[in-house]
């Protein structure tokens, strides 16, 4: 059917789609180009003016990245973000996979009740929790520390991760568990040798999700870590730069792009899992 459509009837369709895609990508292109232009040029002309001399590569510079990463400290913030994100991804997924397995394949009193509460917790706004946790953190000396934010992200991430993993693990065929039962395997063996390997696609999805969520988080880091350069992640530093370097677009855009590189690589290479995760979370939910 598609192939039979003559060009003149499908042309408007193509034009509309290409226009939408163009509008969507244009702001990001502006960011990328600006981050490679010198401050004098950024101040005197728009980024699109480079297309007047498309092969003049001399107008590009890495100076902004040097400035931003070394002098302004986005390099340090990049490491902080990494140091926040990895444990905040691994710990909740480990804890959640155990819980999801128990909810799916063990019978215990209060199971249904606990699960309904879990579903309710999915949408509790984090704002509801911040002041009491901050007070406890202050008493325990966890405010402004990495372990503090690892714990916070773990607690906040658990409802959704348990829920997504439960959806997947509970849909594994029950014969699997009957066979293991005959073989005399215990729960822990079934969990580590069967369930975890079989759940790899689901685990990949939630890992990407949680990773990007933490990487891009601003609010939780603002509240529990604050803006001190030795702990602050990129999101916190960059949002502060927007205030202090408001007109230095070459620096702001370079800093923003540094913070986007890893998510973009992950997204482009693992888009499939990303999409699967969204579908599992939203449609089944």
């Amino acid at each position: 059917m598609k192939k039979l459509e003559p060009l003149f009837t499908s042309l408007p369709l193509h034009l509309i789609i290409i226009l939408i895609a163009f509008i969507w990508i244009l702001p990001s292109v502006g960011l990328l180009i600006t981050s490679f232009r010198s401050s004098a040029e950024v101040a005197s002309s728009g980024w699109w003016s480079i297309f007047q001399h498309p092969f003049n590569f001399t107008c590009f510079t890495l100076e902004n990245y040097h400035q931003v990463i070394i002098r302004i400290g986005i390099g340090r913030a990049f490491l902080n973000t990494l140091f926040i994100t990895i444990p905040s991804t691994v710990i909740p997924i480990a804890i959640a996979s155990l819980a999801a397995y128990a909810f799916a394949w063990m019978d215990f009193p209060g199971r249904r009740f606990l699960f309904v509460i879990l579903v309710g917790l999915l949408v509790v706004p984090l704002q509801m929790t911040m002041i009491p946790i901050l007070r406890v953190f202050n008493k325990l000396g966890l405010a402004g520390t990495f372990p503090g934010i690892w714990l916070a992200h773990t607690g906040y991430g658990l409802p959704l991760i348990i829920y997504l993993l439960y959806n997947f693990i509970s849909s594994l065929p029950s014969e699997l568990f009957d066979a293991s039962s005959i073989d005399g395997a215990g729960h822990f063996q079934v969990f580590t040798k069967l369930v975890l390997p079989l759940s790899l696609p689901a685990l990949a999805s939630v890992t990407i999700f949680q990773f990007l969520w933490i990487w891009n988080d601003l609010l939780v880091a603002l509240v529990y870590l604050g803006g001190t350069p030795d702990v602050a992640p990129m999101t916190v530093r960059i949002s502060a730069l927007v205030g202090s370097y408001g007109q230095d677009w070459e620096l702001l855009t370079a800093a923003a792009f540094v913070s986007m590189v890893l998510p973009l690589i992950l997204f482009l290479s693992l888009q499939r899992y990303f999409v699967k995760g969204i579908l599992a979370g939203a449609v089944k939910g």
Partner: protein, 290 residues
Amino acid sequence: MLYTKKYTPWLYILPAIFLLFFFLVYPSINTIYISFFNYNSEIWVGIKNYIYCFTNEIMLNSFKNNALWVILFVPLTVFLGLIIAILVDRVRYEALVKSIIFMPMAISFVGAGVIWKFVYAYRPASSAQTGILNALRAALQLEPLPWLIIRPWLNNFCLIVVGVWIWTGFCMVILSASYKGIPRELLEAARVDGASEFKVFWRIILPLMEPTLAVVATTMTINVLKVFDIVYVMTNGNYNTEVIANRMYKEMFIFRNYGRASAIAVILLVLIIPMIVINIQRFREQEGMR
């Protein structure tokens, strides 16, 4: 089912239960409690903080702005997501276009804020415009506009556009999967019977996709009630762009008024509760849980 000792399930779920209790259940209850106290939680003030929230001008303005976000953002993201999902289904470069629309989901709201602040950049008419929107206006011989400052409609709308840019991809992905689940024969049959594309859309596609549309709309509504990062980065609530979540952050960290901040958080929760109820109902319908 495997043989399960009485205590085994608890070994598996206790770490999660403990963390959920400590980070979500206990603090939520505590926040409700301290919302009835003064700024440092020492003196009981009854509903004074709530009265403040519903009488203070900036708070009322925040409610108004959040309402504006709901009214514009939710239909825009869902509608655009749906239209794009249906349109790209007909072309061969579908995957590429979807990647482009979906890409903003991968980057931070802070990054998106920088991207769009640059789009809205404003300089006096005498100098060259470096923000693309004002450059377009200049090309059309129009005066440059300070997009993020003109209140109350234009700047709020400009912020909402950023949200739409980020979240439309999310809606598109879910709606696209749902659209592809509609049997093609059904649509073809209607077309053969002489139904126009418009009719096919209204009479067949929309009704069949209604449950998914409802899910997406609920998710977007929750998102938008909690909107924080975009406003924090781009205007910090100045020029009449304040929203509830940013107000809560300010009361908590700038003014150190934990009573008011807690009351705002509780109001935010109350606004979201209908969504929680829908979520739980949907979960119950989905499966009687073995």
